[in-house]
Symmetry: C5
Subunit: 268 residues, 5 copies
Amino acid sequence: MDIATIIGVIFGLFCIIWSILLGGSILTFWDLPSVVVVVGGGIAASLISYKLAEVKLIMKVVVKVFIGKESSPIDTIKQMIELSQKARRDGLLSLEAEQENIKDEFLKESLQLVVDGVEPEIIVESMDLEIENMKARHDKGTGLFKTMAAQFPAWGMIGTLIGLIQLLKSLDDPSKIGPAMAVALITTFYGSVLANFICNPIANKLSLKSKEEIREKRMVIEGVLSIQAGENPKILEHKLKTFLSPKQKHEYENTLTDGSEKQDGRNG
Amino acid sequence: MDIATIIGVIFGLFCIIWSILLGGSILTFWDLPSVVVVVGGGIAASLISYKLAEVKLIMKVVVKVFIGKESSPIDTIKQMIELSQKARRDGLLSLEAEQENIKDEFLKESLQLVVDGVEPEIIVESMDLEIENMKARHDKGTGLFKTMAAQFPAWGMIGTLIGLIQLLKSLDDPSKIGPAMAVALITTFYGSVLANFICNPIANKLSLKSKEEIREKRMVIEGVLSIQAGENPKILEHKLKTFLSPKQKHEYENTLTDGSEKQDGRNG
Amino acid sequence: MDIATIIGVIFGLFCIIWSILLGGSILTFWDLPSVVVVVGGGIAASLISYKLAEVKLIMKVVVKVFIGKESSPIDTIKQMIELSQKARRDGLLSLEAEQENIKDEFLKESLQLVVDGVEPEIIVESMDLEIENMKARHDKGTGLFKTMAAQFPAWGMIGTLIGLIQLLKSLDDPSKIGPAMAVALITTFYGSVLANFICNPIANKLSLKSKEEIREKRMVIEGVLSIQAGENPKILEHKLKTFLSPKQKHEYENTLTDGSEKQDGRNG
Amino acid sequence: MDIATIIGVIFGLFCIIWSILLGGSILTFWDLPSVVVVVGGGIAASLISYKLAEVKLIMKVVVKVFIGKESSPIDTIKQMIELSQKARRDGLLSLEAEQENIKDEFLKESLQLVVDGVEPEIIVESMDLEIENMKARHDKGTGLFKTMAAQFPAWGMIGTLIGLIQLLKSLDDPSKIGPAMAVALITTFYGSVLANFICNPIANKLSLKSKEEIREKRMVIEGVLSIQAGENPKILEHKLKTFLSPKQKHEYENTLTDGSEKQDGRNG
Amino acid sequence: MDIATIIGVIFGLFCIIWSILLGGSILTFWDLPSVVVVVGGGIAASLISYKLAEVKLIMKVVVKVFIGKESSPIDTIKQMIELSQKARRDGLLSLEAEQENIKDEFLKESLQLVVDGVEPEIIVESMDLEIENMKARHDKGTGLFKTMAAQFPAWGMIGTLIGLIQLLKSLDDPSKIGPAMAVALITTFYGSVLANFICNPIANKLSLKSKEEIREKRMVIEGVLSIQAGENPKILEHKLKTFLSPKQKHEYENTLTDGSEKQDGRNG
């Protein structure tokens, strides 16, 4: 789990709670019916569009995205360069033996196709299809949270309208107007916090993560095709390095000394 | 009908009604003129853009989407693999006899073209045209509900403005201001509920369903072209499996034992 | 003129007027300065972006879209199949004699190019250009009404601000506050009605109509190219039918019995 | 300068001023600090994103768009048809002599490439690049005014918030609340007028003008390639006419009688 | 650092502070809890979506964009024309010696590939990949500031809701309502200023800068390919000049006299 996410969650909660406590009790902001209208209404409206199985799947993806460990494009690049060198020296079939050392499922699968002698066009087509379909599943997840980020404030407003209409219908006791209005506004508060502190950040995170995963998979495709074509490992390295950010490039250069030793040892 | 949709509808209604009952009678929220302005105005404005025949057609599509039974990509994949094996063994013409076992209309139609000896380019072109035109019809449906989701809150505001203007014109009796304002706000309430609980979820559902149907049809095209090209059923299976979600892939693996037996029986 | 449009206009007007009459006189909602600010301001701001000749042209297009009679893709399909049969039997040059029976200007023009022996690539290019340029003109019309749909509420708010500022400057007589505020709100009411009841529906209608016309023109291009290539009329029929909605397909099948008779008579 | 722009500006100013004068003095709406916050803040925030040289350049483009005279696609078409006839009769090199009669810089430049014997692919590539880069510059201008159209209302709200906060801090004298609130609202009024009467129309106009210019340049490319390929002037005319609106087509047909005479005279 | 940015920042601050001082003390607008809710909440919600390493990287990019010196496309064009002339005279390998005079890293890298004899398709592919990946990194930066520009006003509203709810809960002392409401509104003020004065301008600037850099890199690719193909330097110049704005073209022509002398000297 990324440290920024943890900091963000804790810091955000602190900001809300501290600023509430400055002005009074936090109990002022607890109102069960308001929770039911906003959370219930928002989730209900989202459920109408999504299948239950999909919602479960999306929740798993969210957990994985926030808790799962980071993938390392640097390791993948180094491994592909090693594989490229091995393939040029010992032929493509020699890659079969290397398969068990590969952790990246996607790389493993594409190399299997190379070893099986499938033509490059079909490998690209098949792998592109896999990326495209993965993207479609990710987009569904992002879409669910974007839908909820739009639904919660809308149900916050619906709750506030319910409160206001009931308040205005019976203005007998002026001293009750203030507290009733406060309660009516609580749903709007819930809607805003849920949308801006929970749903929008999750949707953003999913979308960024998805782009990153797609880029890494595209990098693997580039690498596998280059290995299959028997391209020079230097060209391969140049191509793959463009996928790294400047910082990652720097990191990559640093690990290269150890990397090349380990590589020599492994290939020797 | 998907269970999540039913849960969503019932839960959403419960949330609104319960939170209203907590604060007073539900009759406070019934006002016929408000219904007429919001529902009538919203539908009227939508009717100006769409033809009556289209609106009827879209309503049928909505009913079908919410009540129709789910299609199963897994069955389609298994059937296409069987067909592929049969075609490699007995020739493409042997597929003609299999046609009556095929339920998917789109698959049937494309296979007929294969049996008729039409070239692959023309099959792709003709099938792509069919998908594209289906998408255009679906987009019209999504568009109608998105239009209504924008129109209802707008007419809610128009209704509230009518109420406010009339209220402000004659401020004789201060005790009537509250209730009159409550009535004026009811149209805004109607507009928000109609947009967020009815129209937006339906538009979302139609759009998701449309994407799913397109993906399944694309899968069929991939499969049919592979069958026509006489590709290895293993490659075909690999390609088609990329269209499945991880969960569906798992399901597919599970059904494979029974499936392969059934398949053996059928092909034997 | 489509029946749904007429129903929409009448029903929408009824909803607004009825709900106003329930609460008071309709004269409460008439205020000439408010009309001037909202309608005048909105039109003035739109005129700055569009040329006068364009505005006139767009108005003509709008009238044509709402009053002009519907085109029939079914007739066009049947005619193209007849032409295809004739061309296969008597050669492409025989189509010259058929030209006078063709009502669709676009089909006529493309067939003339076929008869003139122009190569298919140049026909496609020239016809695509025509569609593209037609689309650009349509988009201008849609754009004008979208611009106005954004301008009218903005000028409604400007009018309300003018009223509020003047009201707040001189709060001498509290009994005048209400009516003055009512008048200030009337501009917002005008802006909302103009945007949601007039401009947005027209923009939607233009956009839908434009897509439909483009699809029909694309259908004609597909048909003409198929005729020129001497493709089997069965394949042609299959291709063209994909452009029809399920309902139109059904209608097409129904008219086929009469159609084929008429066709026989004409071709015999 | 297009007559519609002048009418729009005058009519818009009249609408605002007349409706203000109906309710009181126009001096009520003048408040220097409000001007400073809205205009100053909006321009300051826009300056942070754009370079000073760019802003100057954009201002020049705006002046040119509003004051510069209209280009005439009809004249360009007629000239290209003449050039096509001349090129077919006397060879491509004969176009060199015609260059001084050509006013359109873009046409001149492309013809020079034709005369220089550059291959069609390189001409298309080079001219497409020129269009693309021109579009990028235009988009920057449209972007600046869209940015300001979003900034002005935002600063209007900031100004109103400043006024409201100061007003609420010291509620000593109730008689001053009204006028203070009026002044606070003036910034919102300024922001709305600047965005909707100035910036949005200019952004629209620039965007429409840019599309028009691109279309005319595309027409020139089509024409020049056709001339280079030695295509029949009839086909060329057909292609170029698709770029005209129906009204321009009609105009073109009308001017043709004189045009053909002039053309005969020039070519004879 | 561009002069317009400095002017914008100073002028914007002046506008806000001056208009506040006109109405009272600037201390009225300082409230620590409000700062915590808006700034803290907005940053917290943004941190959940972005990794800490990315945030650091983006901050570096922002500093570089605002303080780094402008690149000069004119110098790059002149250098590429020189290189083109040298390559035609002395062969592609002679470019190796020129490498140390080249400051642009991207140009250096692509020329190295040319000297290494890599085929043009692979150079384009590899360089396009680099541009694409650079664009992805820039988009992340723009995305972070767009996210914050949406988060700050949302947290401003959350802060105001907290204040309002607490205020309404205990309406004992009417004289405190005003100041409490003023404090509640301060968070909205903070949110608006942060979004419109800080985040939106930075996001705009990053996005414009990114487009500019991409265009310059595309120009380098065009130039390098032209050099590799041994195209006429005149054609190369024509192509590259289309990347310049009219003003830059003018500047380019002006510097050409000195340029050609310097060029002669260097090449002689």
